[in-house]
């Protein structure tokens, strides 16, 4: 049984990692505490629902359309809200509050259009693979393979391409980036696009398993932020490590206690880290002098 829960933990951990990475991509480079990211995660499944269940498109096509529409939503937020505020030199807090505002508005619109109740994408019970005593559903397998694939591709991208080098450079010093000829706002378009892809894929994969309601974004965002903090803010590998740790510990807490302990475990972890290792696992202590 332990092994089964461990594997479940790794699978959900891969989703947390993906979603957390998308958040980190924006936060590390722009310092925007992008709370509206939660609605991107929630928004994609509803578009899939529309195209797949209501209009009868094949699942894959519906998923791709939904990802594209989620990217558009993300870019709209950047272009009409974040960019003008940044250009005006608004403080990080003001930008965060506007992000909360957007989140509430979008959640309410979705609730109005689709209703508050949980909607299901997949009516059938997913088929399973059995390895000895371990059971994995095909949905879980897809979750794990797709997220891991995206994570690996992205990490290589970050390490070896000029775009990756620029992304890491933006984390250090955006002014210096523009001095070397980078259009910061063009970079941000690329970053908001990538981060929307991660949120949309994560949201779609989870919704296919357990369904959706307009409020699924926030709990996931909290997991993502905790993953970022325990991994270590500032590094792009960190949210991935953090995501897997949270996934595994949550799953093991279900095994040891009950499902009700999942969130308690997440926040205990957060508090322990904030108290004893605020820089996270991979972070370095800031030099004070």
């Amino acid at each position: 049984m332990f092994l089964q829960f461990m594997i479940n933990g790794i699978i959900i951990g891969s989703i947390y990692s993906l979603v957390s990475l998308g958040f980190a991509l924006v936060y590390n480079t722009t310092r925007i505490f992008h709370l509206a990211y939660a609605v991107l995660y929630m928004f994609c499944p509803y578009i899939i629902l529309t195209f797949y269940s209501n209009l009868g498109y094949p699942l894959i096509i519906a998923f791709i359309i939904a990802i594209i529409i989620t990217i558009l939503l993300s870019l709209i937020l950047e272009i009409i809200i974040y960019r003008p505020l940044s250009k005006k030199g608004s403080s990080d807090n003001i930008i965060m509050i506007s992000s909360i505002g957007i989140m509430i508005v979008v959640i309410n619109i979705v609730a109005m259009l689709y209703g508050n109740e949980t909607k299901i994408l997949n009516q059938n019970i997913s088929e399973t693979l059995t390895f000895g005593s371990i059971i994995i559903t095909y949905t879980q397998l897809a979750q794990f393979l797709i997220s891991s694939f995206l994570l690996v591709v992205f990490l290589m991208f970050l390490k070896f391409s000029k775009f990756g080098i620029k992304t890491r450079a933006m984390r250090d010093d955006t002014i210096l980036c523009s001095v070397f000829g980078s259009d910061i706002y063009k970079m941000r378009i690329a970053l908001f696009t990538l981060s929307a892809i991660f949120a949309a894929v994560g949201g779609g994969l989870v919704a296919y398993d357990v369904g959706m309601d307009p409020y699924v974004g926030m709990p996931m965002l909290l997991n993502a932020v905790v993953a970022l903090i325990i991994g270590g803010i500032g590094r792009f590998e960190a949210p991935i490590l953090g995501g897997f740790i949270i996934g595994i510990l949550q799953s093991l807490s279900v095994w040891a206690f009950s499902a009700r302990w999942q969130d308690a475990v997440t926040f205990t972890l957060l508090i322990l880290f904030l108290m004893f290792r605020p820089q996270g696992l991979l972070g370095e202590k800031r030099r004070t002098v």
């Binding site: 991208f157 391409s161 000029k162 775009f163 890491r168 984390r171 001095v179 990538l194």
Partner: protein, 277 residues
Amino acid sequence: MNNDTILNIDSIRKSFVRNIVNVRGKDEDERFFLLEDIDLLVSKGKVTALIGGNGTGKTTLFNIISGFFNADEGKISFMSYGKHVELTGINAYKIARLGIGRMFQDNHIFQNMSVLENMLIADDKFFGERPFESILFYKINNTIEKQRKEKAEKIFAELFGDNNPFLKMKNEKAKNLSYGQQRLLGLARLLMGDYKLLLLDEPTSGVNPLVVEKIKELIKYFVEQKELTIFLIEHNMNFVLDVADFCHFMSKGIIAMGGTPEDIIGNPEVRKAYLGI
């Protein structure tokens, strides 16, 4: 603007708002002109120094040239690839691409990136900066990455000899370099770009005399071997006397005096107003 001029700063004015307490004891915002009327020519292939007291607006002038601030009035034109370009209203990143390099007053390096990556990011070939390029054109991207690395290593070897600390530490984080080394990295990095004019804001501040000597050597090398033009802000008068061809003294929002470094630094008025001797 004749052919020897690379940068023409024409009647630049810049105001800021400051908060004062007025006669009734209330807070009030007041607009004041930090730069009253700046006129200055920078000659191609020469070293021009800008001196002046703390807070007179030298860095502000550099920020206007590099496109971080807009001037209230006046214009700046730059000779780029044989054409006059008006810099007014152009974004900072575009000004960089026109051929104006910049080094900031405090050490500005990418702390958490490796020494080598600090060089790579400044490369004037922008291929691979779009996310899909490096995946779709994998082969070209690899070749260009390799060329970039070779270029960076060649610059290190040329400037600092074959067995230098930068080559040895190329894969270490740049923040592990000493303060002086970080400054030298900042200077070396400017050779990665295809610049015509370099704006250096206090290149010798806070480094030891040995590094100051090295910086002098680099500046001479930049001008003589790389045909660069240098416009620098400096408080170190001996340094200015050694490297600069022209010197301008900024005071009360205008260029109060211009000429050879000997004339300006030797001038009794400058000595009284600025050096206090």
